[in-house]
Symmetry: C2
Subunit: 153 residues, 2 copies
Protein backbone atom coordinates (compact mmCIF):
# COMPACT_ATOMS: atom_id res chain seq x y z
CA UNK A 1 0.00 0.00 0.00
CA UNK A 2 0.97 3.63 -0.43
CA UNK A 3 3.54 4.75 2.16
CA UNK A 4 1.66 7.94 3.07
CA UNK A 5 -1.62 6.09 3.58
CA UNK A 6 0.33 3.66 5.76
CA UNK A 7 1.33 6.62 7.94
CA UNK A 8 -2.27 7.84 8.12
CA UNK A 9 -3.25 4.35 9.31
CA UNK A 10 -0.51 4.39 11.96
CA UNK A 11 -1.81 7.74 13.23
CA UNK A 12 -5.36 6.37 13.43
CA UNK A 13 -4.26 3.25 15.31
CA UNK A 14 -2.25 5.29 17.77
CA UNK A 15 -5.37 7.39 18.40
CA UNK A 16 -7.88 4.62 18.95
CA UNK A 17 -5.62 2.65 21.29
CA UNK A 18 -4.97 5.78 23.35
CA UNK A 19 -8.74 6.46 23.57
CA UNK A 20 -8.46 9.80 21.78
CA UNK A 21 -11.48 9.32 19.50
CA UNK A 22 -12.59 7.62 16.27
CA UNK A 23 -10.47 5.59 13.80
CA UNK A 24 -9.41 8.54 11.70
CA UNK A 25 -5.81 9.46 10.96
CA UNK A 26 -4.34 11.82 8.38
CA UNK A 27 -1.02 12.98 7.02
CA UNK A 28 -0.23 15.86 4.66
CA UNK A 29 2.64 15.49 2.18
CA UNK A 30 4.46 18.06 0.10
CA UNK A 31 7.38 17.44 -2.27
CA UNK A 32 7.47 13.80 -1.15
CA UNK A 33 7.76 14.58 2.57
CA UNK A 34 5.25 14.56 5.41
CA UNK A 35 4.66 18.13 6.61
CA UNK A 36 1.82 17.44 9.05
CA UNK A 37 0.04 14.58 10.78
CA UNK A 38 -2.77 13.99 13.21
CA UNK A 39 -5.56 11.75 14.40
CA UNK A 40 -9.04 12.21 15.79
CA UNK A 41 -8.89 13.73 19.30
CA UNK A 42 -12.56 14.65 19.83
CA UNK A 43 -12.82 12.64 23.04
CA UNK A 44 -9.36 13.55 24.39
CA UNK A 45 -9.78 17.30 23.79
CA UNK A 46 -13.55 17.49 24.41
CA UNK A 47 -13.84 19.32 21.10
CA UNK A 48 -16.00 18.17 18.15
CA UNK A 49 -13.72 19.88 15.61
CA UNK A 50 -10.66 17.75 16.41
CA UNK A 51 -10.95 15.37 13.45
CA UNK A 52 -7.82 13.74 12.01
CA UNK A 53 -7.72 15.99 8.95
CA UNK A 54 -8.12 19.12 11.10
CA UNK A 55 -5.31 18.06 13.43
CA UNK A 56 -3.04 17.36 10.43
CA UNK A 57 -3.84 20.80 8.99
CA UNK A 58 -3.10 22.50 12.35
CA UNK A 59 0.20 20.57 12.50
CA UNK A 60 1.27 21.37 8.92
CA UNK A 61 0.41 25.08 9.30
CA UNK A 62 2.38 25.25 12.53
CA UNK A 63 5.36 23.43 11.00
CA UNK A 64 5.42 25.62 7.89
CA UNK A 65 4.36 28.89 9.59
CA UNK A 66 1.60 29.58 7.05
CA UNK A 67 -2.14 29.16 6.52
CA UNK A 68 -1.50 28.30 2.86
CA UNK A 69 -0.75 24.62 2.16
CA UNK A 70 -0.74 24.97 -1.64
CA UNK A 71 1.07 22.13 -3.41
CA UNK A 72 0.28 19.59 -0.70
CA UNK A 73 -1.74 16.37 -0.69
CA UNK A 74 -3.74 14.89 2.19
CA UNK A 75 -4.12 11.18 3.02
CA UNK A 76 -6.92 10.16 5.36
CA UNK A 77 -8.33 6.84 6.56
CA UNK A 78 -11.94 7.97 5.95
CA UNK A 79 -13.68 10.21 3.40
CA UNK A 80 -13.62 13.74 4.89
CA UNK A 81 -16.81 15.14 6.45
CA UNK A 82 -18.09 18.55 5.21
CA UNK A 83 -16.20 20.36 7.99
CA UNK A 84 -12.89 18.75 7.03
CA UNK A 85 -13.51 19.16 3.30
CA UNK A 86 -14.10 22.86 3.94
CA UNK A 87 -10.88 23.15 5.94
CA UNK A 88 -8.98 21.29 3.20
CA UNK A 89 -10.25 23.79 0.60
CA UNK A 90 -9.42 26.82 2.77
CA UNK A 91 -5.91 25.39 3.21
CA UNK A 92 -5.50 25.13 -0.60
CA UNK A 93 -4.62 21.43 -0.37
CA UNK A 94 -4.56 20.07 -3.93
CA UNK A 95 -5.71 16.48 -3.65
CA UNK A 96 -7.18 14.08 -1.11
CA UNK A 97 -6.67 10.33 -0.91
CA UNK A 98 -9.13 8.57 1.40
CA UNK A 99 -9.43 4.95 2.55
CA UNK A 100 -12.96 4.18 3.69
CA UNK A 101 -15.91 5.81 1.96
CA UNK A 102 -18.95 7.52 3.52
CA UNK A 103 -20.95 4.27 3.67
CA UNK A 104 -18.15 2.52 5.53
CA UNK A 105 -18.05 5.41 8.01
CA UNK A 106 -21.82 5.43 8.36
CA UNK A 107 -21.77 1.73 9.22
CA UNK A 108 -19.55 2.30 12.26
CA UNK A 109 -21.90 5.00 13.57
CA UNK A 110 -20.66 8.40 12.40
CA UNK A 111 -23.00 11.07 10.99
CA UNK A 112 -20.88 12.41 8.11
CA UNK A 113 -23.31 11.47 5.33
CA UNK A 114 -26.24 13.22 7.06
CA UNK A 115 -24.16 16.39 7.24
CA UNK A 116 -23.52 16.25 3.49
CA UNK A 117 -27.29 16.06 2.98
CA UNK A 118 -27.80 19.16 5.14
CA UNK A 119 -25.04 20.97 3.28
CA UNK A 120 -26.84 20.57 -0.07
CA UNK A 121 -30.48 20.84 1.11
CA UNK A 122 -31.57 24.49 0.86
CA UNK A 123 -34.82 23.91 2.74
CA UNK A 124 -33.09 22.28 5.70
CA UNK A 125 -30.49 25.05 5.73
CA UNK A 126 -33.20 27.74 5.68
CA UNK A 127 -34.88 26.22 8.73
CA UNK A 128 -31.60 25.94 10.61
CA UNK A 129 -29.93 29.22 9.64
CA UNK A 130 -31.80 32.50 10.20
CA UNK A 131 -30.80 36.01 9.12
CA UNK A 132 -30.51 38.65 11.85
CA UNK A 133 -28.94 42.13 12.00
CA UNK A 134 -27.72 42.09 8.38
CA UNK A 135 -27.50 45.88 8.10
CA UNK A 136 -25.13 46.22 11.08
CA UNK A 137 -23.02 43.32 9.80
CA UNK A 138 -22.80 44.88 6.34
CA UNK A 139 -21.51 48.05 8.05
CA UNK A 140 -18.89 45.87 9.76
CA UNK A 141 -17.80 44.44 6.38
CA UNK A 142 -17.39 48.01 5.07
CA UNK A 143 -15.38 48.97 8.13
CA UNK A 144 -13.11 46.00 7.40
CA UNK A 145 -12.67 47.00 3.75
CA UNK A 146 -11.67 50.50 4.83
CA UNK A 147 -8.75 49.25 6.92
CA UNK A 148 -5.47 50.07 5.21
CA UNK A 149 -3.38 47.27 6.71
CA UNK A 150 -5.55 44.26 5.86
CA UNK A 151 -3.71 41.02 5.15
CA UNK A 152 -5.40 39.02 2.38
CA UNK A 153 -5.99 35.31 2.98
CA UNK B 1 -30.59 44.82 17.60
CA UNK B 2 -30.38 41.49 19.36
CA UNK B 3 -27.98 41.59 22.31
CA UNK B 4 -26.17 38.37 21.33
CA UNK B 5 -25.63 39.55 17.75
CA UNK B 6 -24.31 42.78 19.24
CA UNK B 7 -21.70 40.72 21.09
CA UNK B 8 -20.79 38.84 17.91
CA UNK B 9 -20.25 42.22 16.23
CA UNK B 10 -18.05 43.39 19.12
CA UNK B 11 -15.93 40.24 18.75
CA UNK B 12 -15.55 40.83 15.00
CA UNK B 13 -14.54 44.47 15.49
CA UNK B 14 -11.98 43.54 18.12
CA UNK B 15 -10.51 41.05 15.65
CA UNK B 16 -10.24 43.28 12.60
CA UNK B 17 -8.71 46.17 14.52
CA UNK B 18 -6.12 43.84 16.06
CA UNK B 19 -5.27 42.43 12.59
CA UNK B 20 -6.33 38.91 13.51
CA UNK B 21 -8.23 38.19 10.27
CA UNK B 22 -11.57 38.81 8.53
CA UNK B 23 -14.67 40.58 9.91
CA UNK B 24 -16.22 37.52 11.47
CA UNK B 25 -17.22 37.21 15.11
CA UNK B 26 -19.41 34.68 16.87
CA UNK B 27 -20.93 33.96 20.25
CA UNK B 28 -22.70 30.84 21.50
CA UNK B 29 -25.57 31.23 23.98
CA UNK B 30 -27.29 28.67 26.18
CA UNK B 31 -30.11 29.32 28.66
CA UNK B 32 -29.81 33.05 27.99
CA UNK B 33 -26.08 33.25 28.76
CA UNK B 34 -23.00 33.42 26.55
CA UNK B 35 -21.00 30.19 26.93
CA UNK B 36 -18.39 30.81 24.21
CA UNK B 37 -17.11 33.57 21.97
CA UNK B 38 -14.49 34.10 19.31
CA UNK B 39 -13.44 35.92 16.17
CA UNK B 40 -11.52 35.08 13.03
CA UNK B 41 -7.82 34.49 13.82
CA UNK B 42 -6.64 32.97 10.52
CA UNK B 43 -3.91 35.59 10.08
CA UNK B 44 -2.90 35.78 13.73
CA UNK B 45 -2.62 32.00 14.15
CA UNK B 46 -1.47 31.17 10.61
CA UNK B 47 -4.24 28.59 10.49
CA UNK B 48 -7.04 28.53 7.88
CA UNK B 49 -9.45 26.77 10.28
CA UNK B 50 -9.55 29.63 12.82
CA UNK B 51 -12.87 31.13 11.74
CA UNK B 52 -15.02 33.00 14.25
CA UNK B 53 -17.52 30.15 14.62
CA UNK B 54 -14.73 27.60 15.16
CA UNK B 55 -13.07 29.76 17.82
CA UNK B 56 -16.43 30.20 19.61
CA UNK B 57 -16.98 26.41 19.54
CA UNK B 58 -13.47 25.77 20.93
CA UNK B 59 -14.17 28.32 23.67
CA UNK B 60 -17.61 26.95 24.60
CA UNK B 61 -16.34 23.34 24.69
CA UNK B 62 -13.45 24.38 26.90
CA UNK B 63 -15.72 26.36 29.24
CA UNK B 64 -18.27 23.55 29.54
CA UNK B 65 -15.79 20.65 29.43
CA UNK B 66 -17.74 18.81 26.74
CA UNK B 67 -17.83 18.29 22.97
CA UNK B 68 -21.65 18.37 23.07
CA UNK B 69 -23.21 21.83 22.87
CA UNK B 70 -26.82 20.60 22.65
CA UNK B 71 -29.37 23.27 23.56
CA UNK B 72 -27.18 26.15 22.45
CA UNK B 73 -27.57 28.76 19.72
CA UNK B 74 -24.84 30.43 17.67
CA UNK B 75 -24.77 34.06 16.50
CA UNK B 76 -22.33 34.98 13.74
CA UNK B 77 -21.70 38.12 11.68
CA UNK B 78 -21.56 36.14 8.40
CA UNK B 79 -23.33 33.04 7.04
CA UNK B 80 -21.15 30.07 8.05
CA UNK B 81 -18.91 28.44 5.44
CA UNK B 82 -19.23 24.63 4.91
CA UNK B 83 -16.40 23.98 7.39
CA UNK B 84 -18.11 25.97 10.13
CA UNK B 85 -21.55 24.57 9.30
CA UNK B 86 -20.08 21.08 9.67
CA UNK B 87 -18.50 21.99 13.01
CA UNK B 88 -21.81 23.49 14.19
CA UNK B 89 -23.62 20.24 13.33
CA UNK B 90 -20.98 18.07 15.03
CA UNK B 91 -21.34 20.27 18.13
CA UNK B 92 -25.14 19.69 18.15
CA UNK B 93 -25.82 23.44 18.16
CA UNK B 94 -29.55 23.89 17.60
CA UNK B 95 -29.90 27.12 15.66
CA UNK B 96 -27.75 29.68 13.89
CA UNK B 97 -28.42 33.39 13.51
CA UNK B 98 -26.21 35.09 10.89
CA UNK B 99 -25.85 38.74 9.85
CA UNK B 100 -24.42 38.99 6.33
CA UNK B 101 -25.37 36.41 3.72
CA UNK B 102 -23.07 34.50 1.30
CA UNK B 103 -23.37 37.19 -1.38
CA UNK B 104 -22.30 39.90 1.06
CA UNK B 105 -19.31 37.78 2.05
CA UNK B 106 -18.45 37.02 -1.57
CA UNK B 107 -18.41 40.76 -2.33
CA UNK B 108 -15.66 41.40 0.20
CA UNK B 109 -13.48 38.67 -1.31
CA UNK B 110 -14.07 35.43 0.59
CA UNK B 111 -14.57 32.06 -1.16
CA UNK B 112 -17.35 30.55 0.97
CA UNK B 113 -19.91 30.28 -1.84
CA UNK B 114 -17.50 28.41 -4.11
CA UNK B 115 -16.91 25.88 -1.34
CA UNK B 116 -20.65 25.25 -1.05
CA UNK B 117 -20.69 24.51 -4.78
CA UNK B 118 -17.87 21.99 -4.36
CA UNK B 119 -19.65 20.41 -1.42
CA UNK B 120 -22.73 19.60 -3.50
CA UNK B 121 -21.07 18.87 -6.87
CA UNK B 122 -20.39 15.12 -7.09
CA UNK B 123 -18.24 15.41 -10.23
CA UNK B 124 -15.95 18.03 -8.69
CA UNK B 125 -15.68 15.96 -5.53
CA UNK B 126 -14.81 12.83 -7.51
CA UNK B 127 -11.96 14.63 -9.27
CA UNK B 128 -10.63 16.02 -6.00
CA UNK B 129 -11.08 13.04 -3.67
CA UNK B 130 -9.60 9.68 -4.67
CA UNK B 131 -10.04 6.30 -2.94
CA UNK B 132 -6.86 4.52 -1.83
CA UNK B 133 -6.21 1.59 0.54
CA UNK B 134 -9.87 1.03 1.39
CA UNK B 135 -9.36 -2.59 2.50
CA UNK B 136 -6.72 -1.70 5.12
CA UNK B 137 -8.86 1.19 6.36
CA UNK B 138 -11.90 -1.06 6.67
CA UNK B 139 -9.76 -3.37 8.82
CA UNK B 140 -8.92 -0.35 10.97
CA UNK B 141 -12.62 0.44 11.40
CA UNK B 142 -13.22 -3.16 12.54
CA UNK B 143 -10.31 -2.92 14.98
CA UNK B 144 -11.96 0.20 16.40
CA UNK B 145 -15.33 -1.53 16.76
CA UNK B 146 -13.67 -4.38 18.65
CA UNK B 147 -12.31 -2.07 21.36
CA UNK B 148 -14.23 -2.56 24.61
CA UNK B 149 -13.64 0.93 26.09
CA UNK B 150 -14.82 3.10 23.21
CA UNK B 151 -16.46 6.39 24.16
CA UNK B 152 -19.32 7.27 21.80
CA UNK B 153 -19.47 10.80 20.40
Amino acid sequence: MDAFMEEALKEAKKGIHAGHGGPFGAVIAKDGKIIGRGHNEVVKNNDPTCHGEMMAIHDACKNLGTFDLSGSVLYTTGYPCPMCLGAILWANIEKVYYGCNLEDTDKIGFRDSRFYEMSSDEKKKEAFLVELGRKECQDLYQEYLSLSDRKAY
